[in-house]
Symmetry: C2
Subunit: 91 residues, 2 copies
């Protein structure tokens, strides 16, 4: 596939065992709203990067490298590339 | 399916046209790292809620209701339930 525009979605989550104050706050809020069945909440980030790439594999690799270098803090967070999709010219 | 534990993943993104300072900051950081092919970045939230529900449909509906009531600000954000999965007893 020729050079084109791609959207890469990276999800960054706090690692297991790492304190997650945002998730705790959301859990407290949900319980205050009456959702007694909520057992736990973890909150992370979604980053959608639109970029030029030669194909889906190239776009995915670029997204993973960006996450590794900038988007995630490897000490406390893990990431994965959740989606890669071409961006239409109408976008 | 009987009452069980489910994980619901909700993704909350800034709506199209809404200013996204976090995304802009990430774009600036990526360009400073040399990623000239980055055309745009949007940053949102992922919230994983572990809850008791009678089945996948019930869990999905609960997650959507929670997002509507607490997790997303409908003026500037949109959300969708990205995943629903049973949580194993080993978790």
């Amino acid at each position: 596939m020729a050079e084109g525009r791609w959207m890469v979605e990276v999800i960054v989550m706090p690692k297991e065992g790492v304190n997650d104050p945002q998730g705790e706050a959301i859990r407290g809020g949900l319980r205050a709203l009456g959702y007694a069945g909520v057992r736990g909440v973890r909150a992370g980030k979604v980053i959608r990067v639109e970029l030029n790439a030669a194909g889906a594999d190239d776009a995915r690799a670029a997204g993973a490298e960006m996450a590794d270098r900038l988007l995630a803090n490897p000490v406390i967070e893990s990431f994965h590339v959740a989606a890669v999709a071409p961006v239409g010219v109408e976008a």
